[in-house]
């Protein structure tokens, strides 16, 4: 890796991993690169395999090698796997390798790994397909879900997992999310964080999560949020966002997410804030031809003032006029735009994702 990559810890401006095999059932591309999976001295190997070879050769015991290599199927590195779809992709890689030899600059911007195999129970990772397949049958978190239940509905369960209790699980989860989130800088120091992971109530596979920094100076109620790609478009993001605000309501805080937000997070939050504001204006106390302040709205909605202004701008219902004599500016909220934004942004302001009867925050 370059010196620049070391300075921007974990960040890369290109995808260094082409695809991810997520458990047994899903294979998809990544959105962003992640250099943390690799060691700075070797981009051809995963970091832990490199370290184990150099520092302790007995760690990868012989009997594990026997298990992995005794299969009649492919026992080589993932580049040469027999998946038919990958054959096409291998040709592409060969041609690209020829071009790599010519130019040294392009070498660093090619894929470091063709397929990363990730367990969808515990997020442990490997470049060897057989290791994953053997691991999936004996994964510890397959039958014993980590964390304490904080929300239990007939459909979904949310568990709170403390970073210092399930350290490796949280570290692997953080590294995995870097493939889909641009601004993430903390991967291994997870002691300060709490992870709220959502499962199907009868299921054992994590569908998504959000993390919360216990030592946040601004007391943010959310640090980062991700719904894993196979489970998106189910309303799980809204569920987690609402749940995070329930936690801050329980703690008596007016709080919000840590910035900057990712593109998906920005849209999800703008919709959620708009929904909360619409609910207060249309169904509650705020009447027409009255005045208000951002502090009043914040007190009712439990949102930060800056988030409220952003939501009002998103809905297009914040207007201003300048008085040339005084040099002052007056602001207005137009309720007609609130009604129309419910339709245009598909807000469904009366729909509630988190029901109080299923919350287990007080105990």
């Amino acid at each position: 890796m370059n010196e620049k990559d070391n300075k921007l810890y974990g960040l890369l401006d290109f995808n260094n991993i082409r695809t991810v095999q997520f458990g047994l059932n899903y294979n998809f591309q990544t959105w962003y690169g992640c250099s943390v999976y690799f060691n700075e001295n070797s981009t051809q190997q995963l970091g832990y395999t490199y370290y184990n070879e150099i520092y302790d050769s007995n760690v990868h015991d012989k009997f594990i090698k026997e298990i992995v290599e005794c299969d009649n199927d492919e026992n080589k590195v993932s580049d040469n796997s027999s998946n038919p779809t990958k054959k096409i992709q291998q040709d592409n890689i060969k041609t690209s390798k020829n071009s790599e030899q010519k130019t040294t600059l392009n070498e660093k911007k090619q894929h470091w790994l063709d397929t990363l195999y990730v367990c969808d129970y515990c997020f442990k990772y490997t470049a060897n397909r057989n290791e994953l397949l053997h691991h999936m049958s004996v994964c510890y978190y397959k039958d014993r879900l980590p964390g304490k239940i904080k929300y239990l509905s007939p459909e979904y369960t949310i568990r709170r997992i403390r970073g210092f209790k399930h350290t490796l699980f949280c570290q692997c989860l953080c590294i995995f999310t870097k493939l889909f989130l641009d601004n993430k800088s903390m991967f291994f120091m997870v002691d300060n964080y709490e992870f709220f992971v959502v499962y199907e109530t009868d299921g054992n596979r994590p569908l998504g999560f959000f993390s919360k920094d216990f030592l946040s100076p601004e007391k943010n109620n959310l640090a980062c949020i991700l719904i894993f790609p196979p489970y998106q478009r189910r309303g799980l993001g809204s569920l987690l966002i609402e749940f995070s605000y329930k936690i801050s309501d329980y703690e008596g805080l007016i709080s919000g997410p840590e910035k900057p937000l990712s593109p998906f997070g920005l849209i999800a939050y703008c919709k959620y804030w708009s929904k909360r504001i619409c609910y207060e204006f249309i169904d509650n106390d705020f009447q027409e031809n009255a005045t208000t302040t951002l502090e009043d709205i914040s007190r009712h909605t439990r949102l930060k003032t800056e988030d409220i202004t952003l939501a009002l701008e998103y809905m297009g219902c914040l207007r201003y006029s300048d008085d040339e004599q005084n040099g002052k500016r007056t602001y207005e909220i137009v309720t007609k735009n609130l009604m129309s934004s419910i339709k245009t942004h598909n807000l469904k302001h009366k729909r509630v994702y988190v029901l109080d009867e299923y919350l287990l925050l007080d105990i």
């Binding site: 059932n25 692997c172 100076p217 951002l294 287990l360």
Partner: protein
Amino acid sequence: MTENDSLLHKKILTNDKEFTSKPKDNKTNATDTVNFSADSNNIQQNDKELCHLAHKDENNIQILVARKKRNGRGKGNYKKNAIKKELTKEISQDYTYLDTQMVKEHKIEPSNSSKKENNGNTSNDNNRDNNNPNEFFIFDYDSKELKPTTIIKILFISKNKIVPFPTDLINKIKTLENMKMTITHTYLKEKCNTKGIDPLYDERFHLFHNSLMKTEKKMLHKDKVNAQELVEKLQDILDTLNLEVWREYIPSITLMKDPNDEEELETKRTLTIKAIERLMEVSADVKKRTKILKIRQGYESFIRITKFINPEDTFIYNQFEDKDFIYGYSSSSDEEEDGLKTANEIRKHRRAKLATKFSKPTIVIDGQYFKIVAEPFNKPKRIVTFPIETQSRVYNPED
């Protein structure tokens, strides 16, 4: 400051491109816009002033480029963005841990009103720039900004201008169009090994993960050290503002329109004291929460902390954010609740566990039309009971 330099400043601020002065050295200038006098004595002063002015006015970055090229510092083409980053680094070097708080509350970039004043009163600004490098509290907000306390009218229709959604965020949302992903369904099968050995056992990852954890710890430690230094600085500033001679020091701490105006001095003194106290509270709160975290991790015992809550006290009949402060409290383990299927069952199980441990009853105080119910680890509730109605309604004390 020579006369030429003062004129120079005026012209820089008004972006007068016709201004030229003959350079005393025979060095060539890199840009066509402005030429400088090259007194070696005034170079350092001028550079500081230029840095500060360039930070104020983006157009003056060209001037900074000219200066740097002429003096032979650095190579290659300086770009605006690169220079901006350097300037912001100089300013934001000191506060990394609490810098977001500072930037939001105090707005280190000067407001538009200060630019108008600079055209009229260059001498005062120059004195301020030269003598007061530590100034970082600014309370002169733009009057047109939407503050939390500005009164907003609520109307059904309006023909006034819309406050637009920020363009940065619009561009961010547009990037979603390119973020398409194809998810292929694969039908892989697990491979059972007779020995039941996990090839991805935990120890395999420990070496690598621990080494990177150390690098992250170092990064966090640096932030903590910077934050502590900032807290000490703020404490010193607080002490100076509480002296009798505070009037002499406050112009170097906060931005003052008129240092001789006593009303302004007193109001800004109170504002800076409040701002500093707020920041100190934030740092104290973070320290408290680190202690709580250490208790949870088992690094500190309850007894060392003086302010732990005795379960014999009535404080137990309260809602606690952090029950870890309570002597003898332990969170229920993950495996105890595996067989429980509904939220109510889990709630009963957890309450029963706490009741057996702390053995405190629920207190019920009867009234004519209401009851007060106090349960351990919960807020007390008031239940309204009517003699005719059979159902009871629960009111929260906050309503």
